[in-house]
Symmetry: C2
């Protein structure tokens, strides 16, 4: 009934130009707009919301700042650890404890130099009441071994599951030709690890009783996972990683599972040669649920559970670097049933995406100076 | 080992510019080129290969031509039925019998006027030995009822399964607001039908013994299916249809299954209001395996099983109109595990895609004059 005028127009158009195969598909209504919260951040790597609605933003160069939704950016918060900024290293992820209001705990990952080279570190600290300094910083976890021949593929993202466990994704440190390190359990390379909030090794970790295995390891066979997120209803950890040429993967993490790198992959080595066996799957290796060829080069990701965009509820959003897109996946259980790419008109490499308490999407661009964007519904 | 020089360069770049978060992801090698076979076709709708490697091409205005791979286009083949070209109507699909070499049978779908309005018709004819004329044309099937208030949503694609059965996809004839016709079985509207090569109604059709049901009906609840294809190993018919705003669907057809239109949909009506119940699924209705929002507006599709593009073996290719893309889906059984859009740089609406005996992809553009394109691997 409400369509009658539109249809009348379409029918009359069709009648006037009978040879044209006009599909009655008007342009999709643009139901969001993009606001620039700030253009004053330097290579932002991660965004995390505090209970008061302000954000913590990491800058790759080694600074942590607080940003209000109105765009007021603080001076660097003091007490941040020294980081190694070569290559892909620097101050990486930031996470806020679910009980931050009472314990003031925040978590950081970063690449740091030590004996033997650089590696990814997880630290916890308290954010002072005036938001200006970190105090009581403790190192929770250090990736082993360190590497001196690479400053790439550090990972890393942090998830606190609210049940007392912390997950951190760790890269394969970009060894070429690929070694089998990510397939072996006696290291933290190409792994997602799981520890307790007290930095202990949980006895129910899948390799806790496996001889010679590092007990923190939760899943293995990863290449460079820069996004992990807690599924809002299943409680599973979903993980996304940079693959080789044509091999970015979205995985659902199962304790002890092997995700195949560098034995099987949907992609190829950068010179076009096959990865490992040249196959996309193998017995005992867990298949990705979606992959990208060409790659999107995924940064952070988040499940959307808010009400501001009703049509996007339950969707998974991924920040894309090379793809210069905010990738939106519609899910049906553990299946990806639709993909859309947003913000492509901006032409910006995107490093992280988070949902604010307002239900809007906040996106960090990979640039210096870089931006924090806000995706807001339009009426 | 072969990567060593590249890595050396990347590492030195990283060292020279430590603050830049350089991902070592060189551009994906372009491994195909596009050749224009002809620019002299008028709104081509379908391509079908003959055993000699030449093509039959339908033109929406009502002509059928033969096209060589070298680009030589014949005069119109005589004996083509009269078609109704208003709106989306015209000469639509063409298919070649698997035993064409002995029986010379080709099949056409088209919209034609009759008592009550226009509807989709399937005809069979013999192509003469000199390829210049159709003879012995018989009408195999006529969609019922006809409609006089719409010249849209005719479908239609033809599949011959090589087992003696013919499948034809039929649209919902674009009634607004959507009626429940596609949900009722006493018509051919919004259906895929199945008949024998002798134009008989197969007793094993799912509704053959259902009171008041049209016996040709194989699946129902479709909107405007313009692509169907025979899966090369399972023998199932896969179907793709134009949904409403944000609701294009890829389905695997199961005999007697209901695909939900217009009760459930991933999309919305063009005015943004919900379709039917406003839900994406309902008991008794079969879910699509993938959908698009925004829509791609799918034309024809084909499974790729040739060797010319080894990496694309087993992929599903879809011609996209509004999306102006050749959509490539990677499959893992009945799951879509990756999507890529090709040919987007050309900015052309694409109506059909077929694989030639050379293993190359042939694509029809939706324009007048239009083109037949060939996608060829590059060394």
């Amino acid at each position: 009934m409400r369509l009658a005028p539109l249809i009348a127009v379409l029918v009359s158009l069709a009648a006037a130009a009978p040879a044209a195969a006009v599909e009655p598909t008007p342009r999709v209504r643009m139901d969001y707009r993009v606001e620039v919260v700030t253009s004053q951040v330097s290579t932002p790597w991660a965004i995390a919301f505090l209970p008061d609605g302000t954000m913590l933003v990491t800058e790759k160069g080694g600074t942590l700042r607080r940003l209000t939704r109105a765009g007021v950016l603080s001076a660097p918060i003091t007490g941040v650890p020294a980081v190694s900024t070569a290559g892909q290293g620097g101050l990486l992820d930031v996470a806020v404890h679910p009980n931050f209001s009472s314990n003031r705990f925040i978590y950081l990952t970063y690449s740091a130099a030590g004996t033997g080279g650089t590696g990814t570190v997880l630290a916890r600290a308290k954010l002072s009441a005036d938001f200006k300094s970190l105090t009581g910083r403790v190192t929770m976890f250090t990736q082993a071994p360190r590497y001196s021949n690479s400053s790439n593929h550090y990972g890393s993202r942090i998830v606190l599951d609210g049940q007392g466990y912390i997950y951190v994704s760790l890269g394969d440190r970009a060894q070429y030709p690929p070694t089998d390190t990510a397939q072996r359990l006696n290291n933290h390379v190409g792994k997602v690890i799981r520890i307790t909030e007290g930095a202990a090794l949980p006895p129910d970790n899948p390799f806790y009783n496996t001889p010679n295995a590092y007990r923190a390891n939760y899943t293995y066979g990863h290449r460079n996972p820069q996004g992990i997120a807690l599924h809002p209803t299943t409680g599973e950890i979903w993980e996304i990683e940079h693959g080789p040429l044509g091999g970015d993967e979205l995985n659902i993490l199962k304790p002890g599972a092997n995700y195949g790198w560098p034995v099987v992959s949907w992609g190829r080595n950068y010179d076009g040669t096959p990865v490992g066996t040249g196959q996309t799957s193998a017995p005992g290796m867990t298949a990705s649920i979606f992959h990208w060829d060409p790659v999107i080069a995924p940064g952070g990701m988040t499940f959307y559970t808010s009400n501001a965009f009703p049509r996007w509820k339950g969707n998974l959003f991924i920040a894309g670097l090379r793809s210069m897109a905010l990738v939106r996946l519609t899910l049906d259980g553990n299946r990806v049933v639709s993909e859309e790419r947003l913000l492509t008109e901006r032409g910006q490499r995107l490093r992280d995406v988070q949902v604010g308490p307002d239900g809007y999407l906040y996106v960090a661009t990979d640039a210096s100076p870089g931006q924090i964007l806000r995706v807001v519904p339009t009426p």
